[in-house]
């Protein structure tokens, strides 16, 4: 296994030869980045330095005490850093080099759909007509923005197979909250007070957390041996107190639920709504539509399926699409197109006149900047391109899984469910832990030395020592081959000496961090 790693920055280090990155545990051996200890912007502050020069005072100056009484004012200004522009640039550019990122390399973080962020999107989102448009601009002077939102609503509705869309929710979790509050409004409007919401035990933690926030009791549904919902358990728990079933399909194991029609029927038979968590929609765009299956409410993660830069953890957006029976309760305002008056152009507007609406979930109209990017993406790909996107995502996942079987990785990290997967799959690290004495965490940490972002670890909870791998359609066959080879090498190395992985990483800007110490005695700000 001596193939070169052309994209591996570690090869610029003359100490490193061949395939394997450095694995020295001697603290005296340090990379340049490791020698460069962390310094905060506050520690770089020197009294009297500045980057900001205020515009000139062009009005007659009045004593501040006469404008704002001293008792309402602070005794001294906030202790922000004092630092010049070049030093701010150096500081944050230096920090940036201490991040791994999608534009740098493979990022198979399961459930997060780390796909390429087209560069065009940043350019169009930054156009003054969008970026400097005030959210309370009169609708007559925001026609382009409202039309973009209206068109995006239409596209998302078509993709979901559900006709009514609200773009307002700001993240998947926010969309979930909207969805469960819509469910509550729907039942209350029918004079029903239901108390429970069902979530499979494979669900993302956001599902049960959302249910509690919306004032319902969580009832867990078990998972069957094939990885789908345990339909008998569902049947036993579905009664007239159930308001909703929240389902992710494909689920968090990367599997399409084969009994989905039965599940939908059971839920609808007790009068509950069926909620589609769109976290894994990237597998099925243009192939299958939640609305056609019988889902009432869908949330999209624009930052996953419709590519937003993940920004180090936000921003995103979580629009929802709903069926006719849920539509009256959608958040307000809604973007609408009004029929042309006197033969003129149609007019786009914000409709607040929605008496049954659950109300707002946030300020203004949602994360508009994300709408610009996702709309650009949908227009770039078109119907065919979107389908190809999902097909390629599923092809890549299955190919990688096949490579891991072929090269023997599966012997220690077998697929938790041995069937065709959708856009992601789960490996179990239990055999590696037992036979090689390395845990999933250790494997993940050793991958860091190979300049690969590890898969999601320890989720789903159902699988012991889980690794959730989502390659996305972005990746080439060569990248997938390379990842399979790296994983193989990490396991080979562990077979020779498990301590290599247990003590990894060695080459990152910092090595394994004391998370327990951080949690025991939290230091979450700098004393100034």
């Amino acid at each position: 296994m001596n193939e070169p790693l052309s994209d591996n920055r570690l090869h610029t280090d003359p100490e490193i030869e061949g395939f394997r990155p450095i694995a020295r545990r001697d603290p005296a051996v340090q990379t340049a980045q490791q020698r460069d200890r962390a310094t905060t912007i506050y520690e770089r502050s020197v009294e009297g330095r500045r980057a900001f020069v205020p515009p000139a005072l062009d009005v007659p100056e009045q004593p501040l005490d006469e404008l704002i009484p001293a008792r309402l004012r602070r005794s001294e200004g906030p202790k922000l850093p004092e630092i010049s522009e070049p030093e701010i640039v150096r500081h944050y550019v230096r920090l940036s080099t201490r991040n791994f990122h999608l534009d740098e390399g493979f990022y198979p973080l399961g459930s997060c759909t780390m796909k390429h962020n087209p560069k065009l999107h940043e350019r169009v989102a930054a156009l003054d007509g969008f970026a400097r448009l005030h959210p309370l601009q009169h609708p007559s002077k925001a026609q382009g923005a409202l039309e973009l939102m209206w068109r995006l609503q239409g596209a998302l509705g078509e993709i979901a197979g559900l006709p009514h869309v609200s773009l307002q929710p700001s993240a998947g979790s926010h969309g979930e909250l909207a969805g469960v509050l819509l469910t509550r409004a729907y039942h209350e409007d029918r004079g029903e007070q239901r108390t429970k919401v069902l979530t499979p035990d494979t669900a993302h933690g956001t599902n049960p957390a959302t249910v509690t926030m919306a004032g319902y009791e969580v009832v867990k549904v078990a998972t069957a041996d094939d990885g789908g919902v345990d339909v008998e358990d569902l049947r036993a728990k579905a009664d007239d107190q159930v308001a909703c079933l929240m389902l992710t399909n494909p689920n968090t194991l990367g599997l399409w639920d084969r009994r989905i029609e039965e599940i939908a029927a059971i839920v609808h038979d007790v009068g509950a709504t069926l909620y589609y968590d769109g976290a894994n929609l990237n597998a099925v765009v243009g192939i299958s539509r939640p609305g056609d299956i019988g889902f009432d409410i869908v949330h999209f993660n624009l930052h996953k399926t419709f590519t937003q830069p993940h920004g180090g953890g936000g921003p995103g957006a979580g629009p929802i699409a709903v069926s006719d029976r849920i539509e009256p309760y959608l958040p307000r305002p809604q973007v609408v197109r009004r029929a042309p008056e006197n033969g003129g152009e149609p007019r786009f507007d914000l409709d607040y006149d929605r008496p049954k609406s659950i109300g707002r979930l946030r300020g203004f109209q949602g994360n508009f900047g994300t709408f610009v990017r996702s709309y650009a993406y949908i227009r770039s790909l078109g119907a065919d391109g979107l389908r190809e996107m999902s097909e390629t995502a599923v092809l890549n996942a299955n190919y990688l899984l096949a490579k891991l079987r072929e090269n023997g990785v599966a012997e220690h990290l077998p697929a938790a469910y041995d069937r065709i997967c959708m856009h992601e799959f789960v490996l179990s690290g239990a055999p590696a832990k037992r036979d090689l004495k390395v845990k999933t965490l250790d494997v993940a940490k050793r991958l860091l030395d190979h300049n690969v972002h590890p898969p999601t670890v320890y989720f789903p909870l159902l699988v012991d020592e889980a690794l959730l791998v989502e390659p996305t359609e972005t990746e080439t066959r060569e990248t997938l081959d390379h990842f399979a080879a790296v994983l193989r090498d990490v396991l080979d190395e562990a077979a020779e000496d498990p301590d290599v992985a247990r003590d990894a990483p060695y080459t990152t800007p910092v090595r394994r961090l004391d998370e327990a110490g951080a949690a025991k005695r939290p230091v979450i700000r700098q004393p100034l």
Binding site: G77, D128, Q137, R379
Partner: protein
Amino acid sequence: MSRYTSATDADRAAMLEAIGVASVDDLFADIPEKLRLARALDLPAGLAEQEVYAHLRALAARNVSAADEISFVGAGMYDHYVPALVDAIALRSEFLTPYTPYQPEISQGGLQVMFEYQTAISELTGLPVSNASVYEGPSAVGAAGYVARTENKRPKFVASAGLHPHSLETLRTMSHGYGTEVVEVPLRDGATDPDALAAAVDDDTGAVFLQQPNFLGAIEDLDALARAAKPTGALLVVAADPIPLALLKPPGESGADLVVGEGQPLGNRLDFGGPSFGFFAATEALLRRMPGRIAGETTDVDGRRGFVLTLQTREQHIRREKATSNICTAQALNALCGMVYLAWLGRRGMVELAELLVQRTAYARATLDALDGVALLHQQPVVREFALRLDAPAERVRERCFEYGIDPGLPLEGDGLLVAITEQRSRADIDRLAEVLGAAVREERRERAAV
């Protein structure tokens, strides 16, 4: 082939062979035939990059942005200048394209920014605990409500009518779910009435919500209001505008338990309402009730300083139905913009900026108050926003001003007008506003007289 994927026909064939299936369709065999979409999506065909750019540019051109007119609209988002420095740093792939720092060893940049940001928010709000940000302002108010709910489980919130209407509505939407009622307390001369507040607060009150400065721009006397709000053990939540906090007493020093707010004024663009970030700060006692991500300082195995996500047992991925919130992401990129902006302003600059705003706003307030048919809606001290009452229909006055390239501010119920001043509005702009607004009010009154 899509330009964002790489698989050629040859790749696809080789990959299918490795998988051991004949076609891509076979990969979807688990989906019952009748649940598969038998047609193409009814969406337009894909476009070349230059076509998409031209289309988006045409849509953008149909908006009138703050670059195209002289706008005095604020009401929660403000046209402050965003320095070039912010764009240069935020557009770096290293900050733009990673996700949440689950692997801290390769995410020290983002984690340290969070730590620096949390420090700045603590400094502005006067509270020791800050998270790494939440979605945006009004939903941060809603999130504060949920903290109160889980902390004391009382069935009632008391909210000042000076809260931003979007915050008030978001709080109502969210609290309806867990069954907490929201009672509104009126304003007296533009500021929250402390007597009415004291009368509304009782043993059932879980939290009191105030805004600083309030929606009408008035600086609230938080010391006095805290005395009215806290005797029965309710939490005090203050939604604050961060720029005025350069001058105003930090709400934490007045007894606020939670200080939250809209972060857009700090180096984030208007973007027609988002994305921006919400800041969220609390007392030490509420540390383990906090929603969202929190970065903490620690050391690595060799003793190097480093940063990690910490106190994660609060969060949904661990505590699930018992989590403090369902939120998973912060608004890390927007909070980064906020942090870079605060570093740019610096210790002196932020105060200088706020003082400039106070002076220009005082000038604007006096100049507009002197117009016929225009009066101050309240006499309270303000920082960079104030409310007027017009003796004419405010919506129509606004539309008249549009014809002169001026947006005079946000019309309020009862012919009020909410006017915001940023450092991008010069004295000449303010004088022009006075001229145009005066004429518009005059015209409307003349028309009314004619009828």
